[in-house]
């Protein structure tokens, strides 16, 4: 979050936006174009899946934190239960997030998953089980990030609403109290 952010004109973190898009686009491009000049399926598989995994890591750990201020993870508590943890910035910082950054973040996230679904349909139609495997793995990674961040955002909104209504309720009650005390 820059201190001197020009009024809504530019991206606040252009390098991170670039990397956010880079690995997604690279894995999609490699997958689509690879059949032209690469003969071996193994190389296509490994490179595509590696790029998709890198993208997953970058989105989850770097661009999610910095572009939209959200973070999600899973941990196992002492009772042996799995707990999904969602973390967001406090309200003022969230409001200060660059709109362009978050627009790019969410749109590329969804768009990439849609393209993978389309590619999956293509390979399904052509009965290519091994390419379907590649698409399946990449799609799983994209969907995991989408679900995690969407849940995180919903929780953030709920928390903000709860906080806001709590503030309003406390304000109203304190106003009532002061009104009654005057009377």
């Amino acid at each position: 979050m820059d201190q001197n952010q020009p009024p809504g004109e530019n991206y606040a973190h252009p390098k991170i936006c670039f990397f956010h898009v880079l690995f997604k686009a690279a894995s999609l491009a490699f997958y689509i174009l690879s059949t032209i000049f690469v003969d071996s399926f193994v190389i296509i598989f490994v490179v595509t899946v590696l790029l998709a995994a890198l993208d997953f890591w970058v989105v989850k750990n770097v661009s999610g934190r910095i572009l939209v201020g959200l973070r999600w993870w899973n941990e196992i508590n002492d009772l042996g239960e799995s707990v999904w943890r969602f973390e967001c910035l406090d309200q003022e910082s969230l409001a200060r997030m660059n709109k362009k950054d978050s627009w790019l973040f969410w749109w590329t996230l969804y768009l990439a998953a849609v393209v993978w679904i389309l590619l999956g349909i293509f390979s399904l139609v052509r009965f290519q089980a091994d390419y379907l495997l590649v698409v399946g793995v990449c799609l799983t990674l994209s969907l995991a990030n989408i679900i995690g961040f969407t849940k995180c955002r919903k929780d953030a909104k709920k928390q903000i609403q709860a906080f806001a209504s709590q503030t309003i309720a406390s304000r109203v009650s304190s106003t009532l109290q002061s009104a009654f005390s005057v009377v």
């Binding site: 193994v42 890198l54 929780d155 903000i160």
Partner: protein, 242 residues
């Protein structure tokens, strides 16, 4: 393994099921991410988010780029150290550990991912024909096998968490990776077979305490049999392709 990076979110306060905390800190400028509070705590004097030049290190590699900044690098280091610690926990199971089921609390899927890819690559490399199919088959076999084994334990009423079990089965694949690597050096057939069987027993021995502690006494055999079956079949796959 009590270094600070293991469970940094223990300091985040108690949380129920998926509860979101709008984390607040005394200085409103600092982005309050407890998860990465450790790297930020030391750099509080600087600007809160030193816009990290995100030259990201792919997990598992050790290339150092000159423009790395602290926060991203710390995340990478934490992930790498977690992979290593999980690997050590799984491969050298301490029989006197008080609760083997607790060991892989800090599960992650990066280690299993790399081991599965590595095994597929090794098998595909050493095969003389049908390289692509062998790779795809081994990947699918390992992936689906791990999922099915986990479902098996869950359906038998075992108390294990889905991702923890996937992570565990992936880490236990490491000895078989070594076995496949040994088979790459085309030595005597008997030597290769012995190496593969030794690593297969090591894998099964590593996975045994977790699985057996998750199910009740009567169902142990039911839970362990498919596990052994899968590792035996992977071992035969390694021998057959070398």
């Amino acid at each position: 393994m009590e270094n600070n990076f293991e469970n940094p979110f223990h300091g985040a306060g108690q949380v129920g099921q998926a509860v979101l905390e709008p984390t607040r800190r005394s200085s409103p400028r600092t982005p309050p991410f407890p998860y990465s509070s450790l790297p930020f705590a030391s750099s509080n004097a600087k600007s809160p988010t030193p816009s990290p030049s995100p030259v990201v290190i792919p997990p598992g590699h050790n290339i150092v780029a000159p423009t790395l900044t602290e926060p991203v690098w710390e995340t990478v280091q934490r992930d790498l150290s977690r992979i290593l610690s999980n690997l050590k926990l799984v491969l050298f199971p301490n029989p006197h550990r008080e609760d083997p089921g607790k060991a892989l609390r800090d599960w992650d899927l990066w280690g299993p991912f790399f081991f599965v890819i590595f095994l597929g690559l090794t098998l595909s490399w050493s095969a003389s024909i049908k390289k692509s199919e062998i790779f795809a088959v081994s990947f699918a076999l390992l992936g689906i096998g791990a999922i099915v084994l986990t479902l098996n334990v869950l359906l038998l009423g075992g108390k294990i968490i889905f991702f923890q079990s996937l992570s565990l089965l992936g880490y236990c694949l490491f000895p078989l990776d070594i076995g496949a690597l040994i088979c790459l050096f085309k030595g005597h057939f008997i030597a290769r077979m012995i190496a593969v069987f030794v690593t297969m027993f090591w894998s099964s021995w590593a996975a045994y305490p977790f699985i057996s502690s998750a199910v009740t006494q009567k169902r142990k055999a039911l839970a362990l049999y498919p596990l052994l079956l899968m590792y035996v079949s992977v071992a035969f796959l390694i021998i057959a392709t070398s």
